[in-house]
């Protein structure tokens, strides 16, 4: 790792000032950034640690509105009793990220700011129609996720929370890489008052996306059987040594079926 200057921010306002130094980066759980710095894929001059900022912590549920502080860890999200009642699918998703030690450190804000094409949270936030709140503005999820490791965040902009309306039904199903366990395909299905939305992670050439074909079939009938014979086009899906675009296309339909069955269970 190259030399770096560490700053522990006491508040979001403090972090917003510190981030202006040199080529500074925000640090939350560090489960991606620290390994990237170790291999010198990232070499910020300064790190601004957000993880101790109280106002960024914790899950709040008020009626149907769920708000999750950006520095809440995957462990916090997976085990929050209020969230388990309001949106068990999201708590379950958090319990599938990485391993226990990673879940103790990694945060929801860090995960979505990084927008790894195989990350789990982007699928959930896109399908839930979530709002990403920063220290400057509120951004709709479909405007936030821009592509591989790319978001609409501006330099120095700090995610403070995500919020969404709890869906009537939802579930997440993930087909894991057999060795590394990340999503080769992950499908989040949500049924709310605005209809059905289905978001896919791990598969898109350009990151997380909504599957129109699956949404159309489920809009008519929210049942796993409604997806019999539904074909997802392989165009714009990733091909790599683990799975071809055609295989991923098939997996999207299979995972969507399982997710709908789980959501209806």
């Amino acid at each position: 790792m190259y030399s770096v200057n560490y700053h522990r921010a006491a508040s979001v306002a403090d972090a917003a000032k510190l981030i202006k130094a040199g080529d500074a980066k925000l640090l939350s759980g560090g489960m991606t950034l620290i390994p990237a710095m170790k291999t010198r894929l990232a070499a910020p001059s300064d790190l601004v640690d957000l993880s101790k900022i109280k106002e960024l912590q914790g899950v709040k549920v008020s009626g149907k509105t769920v708000t999750i502080g950006a520095a809440s860890t995957h462990f916090d999200v997976a085990n929050d009793e209020k969230l388990k009642k309001a949106c068990p699918a999201l708590a379950h998703l958090a319990s599938l990220i990485g391993d226990p030690a990673v879940r103790h450190r990694g945060t929801i804000g860090g995960s979505i700011a990084n927008n790894d094409p195989a990350a789990d949270y982007p699928a959930a936030l896109l399908a839930l129609g979530a709002t990403i709140v920063t220290n400057k503005r509120a951004i709709a999820a479909d405007k936030f996720f821009k592509g591989l490791f790319e978001t609409s965040l501006k330099d120095g902009e700090i995610i403070t929370a995500v919020s969404f309306t709890a869906p009537a039904k939802a579930a997440y199903e993930k087909f894991r890489n057999p060795a590394s366990r990340y999503a080769i395909v992950g499908v989040f299905v949500a049924k709310g008052k605005d209809g059905v939305s289905v978001a896919v992670t791990g598969a898109g050439d350009d990151g997380v996306f909504r599957s129109k074909e699956i949404e159309a079939a489920l809009a008519k009938n929210f049942a796993a059987s409604a997806l019999d014979g539904v074909k997802v086009p392989a165009k714009n899906l990733m091909t790599d040594i683990h799975a071809s675009a055609d295989y991923r296309a098939n997996l999207i339909a299979v995972m969507a079926k399982r997710a709908v069955a789980a959501a209806n269970a």
Binding site: I34, P35, K38, L47, S51, F75, A101, V102, H104, R105
Partner: protein, 166 residues
């Protein structure tokens, strides 16, 4: 450079470290606590697992300065003198190791796992929760046995005098 001050295995320690110093290197090189191992260096193998503020973390993926102000327990902090912690005793009893390189991380992960599941553990849960710890010798079989046995002992409120892992 920053001043890093920690409570490690019940003792207050402090020292200057470069900001880029990883917690695992601070423990091993500054404090001489070489029980915590560096295996893969890519945050996958779990040989470096320690407890920070009561939670299992990979100390190769955290800066020492990030942990400053925290309470850390390493493998050296589990036993009470000559009395092994119940998880250490179970690994010995069930031969949950061969070369022993992954063992400190396995034991710290297992202790955290058992603490989080006071209701008890089953084999499937143990295997799932061991996802972040790699062993290249045992095939995991005896590790799983040891953790299940330790979980039973600890939920019975064993008379073992081991210190409670923070």
């Amino acid at each position: 450079m920053s001043d890093v001050s920690l409570m490690v295995n019940g003792k207050r320690v402090s020292g200057a470290a470069e900001d880029r110093t990883l917690l695992v290197h601070f423990l091993r090189e500054n404090l001489g606590l070489t029980g915590t191992h560096v295996g893969c260096d890519t945050s996958q193998c779990g040989a470096c697992v320690v407890h920070v503020d009561g939670k299992a973390v990979k100390s190769c993926s955290m800066l020492a300065v990030q942990a400053s102000g925290s309470t850390v327990v390493t493998i050296e902090g589990l036993a009470n003198g000559a009395d092994l912690h119940p998880v250490q005793a179970a690994f010995k009893e069930h031969h949950g190791l061969q070369c022993g390189f992954c063992t400190p991380g396995m034991i710290m992960t297992a202790t955290d796992m058992i603490n989080r599941h006071p209701e008890g553990l089953d084999e499937a849960t143990v295997r799932t929760e061991l996802e972040g710890n790699i062993c290249r010798c045992t095939g995991y079989h005896n590790i799983v046995k040891a953790i299940l046995a330790a979980s039973k002992t600890m939920s019975k409120g064993s008379k073992g005098k081991a210190k409670q892992a923070a």
